[in-house]
Symmetry: C2
Subunit: 278 residues, 2 copies
């Protein structure tokens, strides 16, 4: 069975390890934090674990980088030369163009980058929140780099199926980042902004499902999301402005008591939302 290396044992890295072991792969974990390695070893999620990647990287035919986005470049600079000769390198950053540009120039001849985005996660951070079930039915996006071969795409796609993911799609990096700016980043901006709208502690006891649903993702890992937002800054600003315009359009119909236009907006949102039902 193939050997998979997992770099960075947080929520996602731990979940990849756990699931890969279930599937029968040989799994090697890399993390600077010995505690994370110990945790994974005790859980039986790893065959081997290293704080220094150099010694074992050459064994990993597939390598999944589960680092914070801004750490990927430095990691590759330091360790690229130790990669398996034909390694397929996947990285799971939540934004792609900038990260992939950085990595492509650093990955030595013979290896290839195939970026992936399994659309799942946890609101809490750390390997103790990992689970092999996290991938179940999650959308999975493959983002080819200029290095990616057909073999690389097939490998990523097979992995997604084995993980238990639902719909698998292929997008280029720019399309991915457009999509993520709207569906994921803008929704987090809205949830955070709503949660931070004036004092509202005294309303806790009256809140219903709609407020809870809208603010669930206002619990957010400040280190990772600030990185992701800055790496996709221009696209996210565009989406915030488009949403702010839509909000002001609605405000205007209310201010002017333009009931027919308001009803049309409700009918439109209802029809559009129905398409997103599972």
């Amino acid at each position: 069975m193939k050997t998979i290396g997992i770099v960075g044992l947080g929520v996602m890295g731990g979940s990849f390890s756990a699931r890969a072991k279930e599937l029968g792969y040989k799994v090697i974990g890399f993390d600077l934090d010995q505690n994370a390695l110990d945790f994974a070893m005790e859980k039986g999620w790893l065959d081997e674990g290293y704080t220094d990647p150099k010694e074992a990287l050459a064994k990993c035919e597939t390598l999944i980088l589960c680092l914070y986005p801004t750490l990927m470049e430095g990691w590759m600079k330091e360790n690229g030369e130790y990669l398996h000769q034909e390694a397929i390198i996947m990285e799971i950053a939540g934004v792609k163009s900038s990260i992939m540009d950085q990595l492509e120039t650093l990955i030595p001849e013979g290896r290839q980058l195939v970026s992936i985005h399994p659309m799942c996660g946890r609101e809490s951070r750390g390997i103790q929140f990992s689970s092999p079930r996290i991938f179940q039915n999650a959308n999975f996006i493959i983002i080819p780099s200029s290095q990616t071969t057909a073999k690389g795409i097939v490998e990523a796609s097979s992995l997604a199926k084995e993980l238990g993911c639902g719909k698998i799609s292929v997008l280029n990096a720019d399309e991915h980042d457009d999509m993520i700016a709207f569906l994921s980043q803008l929704t987090h901006v809205i949830a955070v902004s709503l949660m931070n709208t004036h004092d509202n502690d005294h309303l806790v006891e009256y809140s219903g499902d709609s407020f809870r649903d809208l603010t669930r993702i206002a619990k957010i890992n400040e280190d990772m999301w600030s990185e992701l937002f800055l790496l996709n800054k221009e696209k996210l600003l565009t989406e915030i402005d488009a949403f702010a315009d839509s909000l002001q359009n609605f405000r205007k119909t209310l201010e002017e008591e333009d009931v027919q236009t308001m009803k049309d907006m409700f009918i439109q949102s209802t029809q559009k939302r129905i398409k997103f039902d599972r």
Copy 2:
């Protein structure tokens, strides 16, 4: 056992009827639509049903008005004189100040208005979506009118407990409408505005839980919600503006790449949101 009258057999009226029958009350339904009455009778949710309220209103010691907000005043003008001599009248409109002001002046001597707001519902309309379970653990708010006696409050509170509601609170109409403008109406404005932000049909296949959760309530009854928004216009405009400010604050930190302030906003939203966990 007491007789409860239900006026308006939509989702909420049907659910009240179904639950009241379970509890052993005698239940009389009133609706202009014979089909809704037939449906409720066939389900065993009513003892009697009438399209013309006049004949049976005098039997109803408790009356629950489940009409669209703007229909309440007209109904009371037409039928107030036929009410039970000591009727306790509850109405379930989603906004209170304006509706209660209208009703109080029309309710004849001896009867009393005790407004209620069971915080539950369905995204679809019509009695076919009713269920006696809709009230289970829902927050329930009692809003006394100038007519309300201690007996009236006790009655509303007992009903809430029997229905299976969770937390029961008492608010005045102005506090209620402030709270609802933020927790319920603003959240619907946000969901509708997000759903109506540029074309997004092509993103259906990539959407994850965060987008689905934020837009669930973009499926909305345009007739009822346009009424509710207009009846609470000033308070809702204030909340939209407060949220728009919060959104622009966030936008500014991104534009200026002020990472520390952005992280502080994330930390604040996380801490605030934790208080809203059930």
